[in-house]
Symmetry: C2
Subunit: 340 residues, 2 copies
């Protein structure tokens, strides 16, 4: 299959018997040109449906006006929202977006970076994969002076701007909410421990317990790799605890939903026997039965802020010094934690 021919300046020039540079000047409305010549050229360009070749342009000015985005998976509602925000605000400022997913694999993440860099994107926006536990590829980007920002799944030691949620704060909010609802033995179900958000949310969980004068209990901290199978393993493990805990805080909504679904199948009542809470406020969480208490993380907003800051840096509107943008989360109390 062939692509249709694109009209070039050369052809316009040839048709009108002028030089290519004259055409170029006419199209950018240069003042040092006969009005008449200009008019004729602009008209011909329109008629021939001329579209400047962005490729040639980019090669010349060595800027593609394209951003590369890497997310763990597009099908996650949260990341899809981020992408949506990035898209909208990048487009507003004349940038295109190339999106890749790492599928939670560090190798794929590295491959994506390579591809995007080879495609000469002006900058990158990265949310790290679950697997990412070393960071050479990011330091290399940094050393090669390719601008990038990290969002949501970040690595703290890399000297670039980062956009995160106040994960510790959100976890504190939700744990506190469980405590206030009367829970006293609260399990925290964590994702992979390397993950930034796993750590931060644990911090918030522990802080809330401490403030309530409840001792940290290592047996009340469970770790899943976030696959459905492993989530169910944890759900079983908790169901087998004796006595049952009275509250469970799952690091992320889909995990909570898996746990809830399993418990329903074995007759554990939520919130009567165990209060349950998640994190992220996925659409699913609002419609499960009982509706899931969670913490709202506006992904669209995160994408918007991250891309805006990055473009501000690219365009020299703000300093290049890395900053950290922390977005607030909001507790969304629902029936799954309603014990009073």
């Amino acid at each position: 299959m062939k692509k249709g021919h694109q009209v070039t300046m050369k052809e316009i020039a040839k048709k009108l018997g002028v030089s290519v540079s004259t055409v170029s000047r006419a199209l950018k409305d240069s003042p040092e040109l006969h009005e008449e010549t200009k008019r004729k050229i602009v008209e011909a360009a329109k008629e021939m449906n001329y579209q400047p070749n962005l490729l040639a342009q980019s090669l010349r000015i060595s800027r593609t006006k394209t951003l590369g985005v890497i997310v763990p998976e597009i099908t996650s509602h949260f990341f899809a929202s981020c992408i949506s925000g990035i898209q909208d605000f990048a487009n507003k400022r004349g940038y295109n977006v190339m999106i890749c997913q790492s599928n939670e694999s560090i190798d794929q993440e590295i491959a994506n970076i390579k591809t995007l860099v080879a495609s000469q994107v002006d900058a990158l926006m990265i949310s790290l994969s679950r697997e990412t536990n070393h960071y050479e590829h990011l330091f290399e980007l940094y050393n090669r002076e390719i601008p990038f920002v990290l969002f949501d799944r970040v690595q703290e030691d890399i000297p670039v701007s980062k956009v995160t949620f106040n994960d510790a704060g959100g976890a504190y909010q939700v744990t506190n909410h469980l405590l206030e609802s009367g829970c006293r033995s609260i399990v925290y179900v964590s994702g992979p421990e390397d993950l930034y958000i796993s750590k931060k949310r644990k911090e918030g969980y522990l802080k809330a317990l401490k403030e309530y004068g409840i001792e940290e209990n290592p047996e009340f901290i469970k770790v899943t790799d976030l696959t459905e199978a492993d989530n169910i393993r944890i759900a079983k493990e908790i169901a087998a605890m004796d006595p049952l805990p009275d509250g469970v805080f799952c690091m992320i909504d889909p995990l909570a939903v898996d746990v809830l679904t399993y418990w329903k199948s074995v007759g554990i009542k939520v919130p009567e026997q165990i209060a349950l809470a998640g994190f992220t406020n996925n659409p699913t969480s609002a419609v499960v039965e009982p509706p899931l208490t969670t913490v709202s993380q506006p992904g669209y907003e995160m994408g918007k802020l991250a891309v805006s800051h990055l473009l501000d840096q690219l365009d020299g509107l703000v300093s290049d010094d890395p900053i950290s943008i922390v977005l607030d989360t909001t507790l969304v109390p629902r029936k799954s934690s309603q014990r009073i």
Copy 2:
């Protein structure tokens, strides 16, 4: 913020005191080159961290190895799945993907096409917006010989390849299922009537009724614009029918969920009073209470097939003649329709 400098062939050539063409040949392992020279160049390239400039390459061969994808919205799980499939299989064949969302707006759709074409993508994959009711922009693409395929939300009169689900068949399956479950007065809630899928699913609905010897009743066909407000308006309208219908088939899951949520709030029992079914098999549908009967549409598969066919055409592996790929759907019966 500046971008770090990229190593070019020129620099390698200069450093080693050879010509650029020699470097070029060495890097593509041309046989007409001294092994020793080749080795030296390849080594230097590696050491200097040389990355070919895809932009220049693209300009030269006038192929970018990039596909443009336009979907109504990324945050929809179905379209996210399609994108995921497209991504994976495009990457496998060495293509990148630029994704745009039309936000269900025809103007945005046209703007997206323009941007992607200006970016010299090799081909486009488009799923039409809800608003799209004229097709000049598509015919223009066709006339300019820019390859593209349509998927899911297609327009039948455009002579390009299309990938769709057997929407009529799926709707037939689900309507038939409702009939077999004992329903005799079944409402069909449609999306905007211009929409390909609205029409096709209505076809299937009517066919099933007809086969069961049930007369078509115009009052049993409702139309929503798919906004939450309008969905709830329909839910109210149905709740006010006297007698209540005994089954409702909503054209798409989120619509069914909105309806279900409203009914729950006013005490209408599903499936006891009204059996309910949706279409698409969103993750949400499995976890609502009661779980929603629906029709499964594998989006990942659709993306995969669409992109594979398109690349086959681009690469000349199959004929350019437009074909129509129709994917089968699967009925997913759940509690929301369980009346027997």
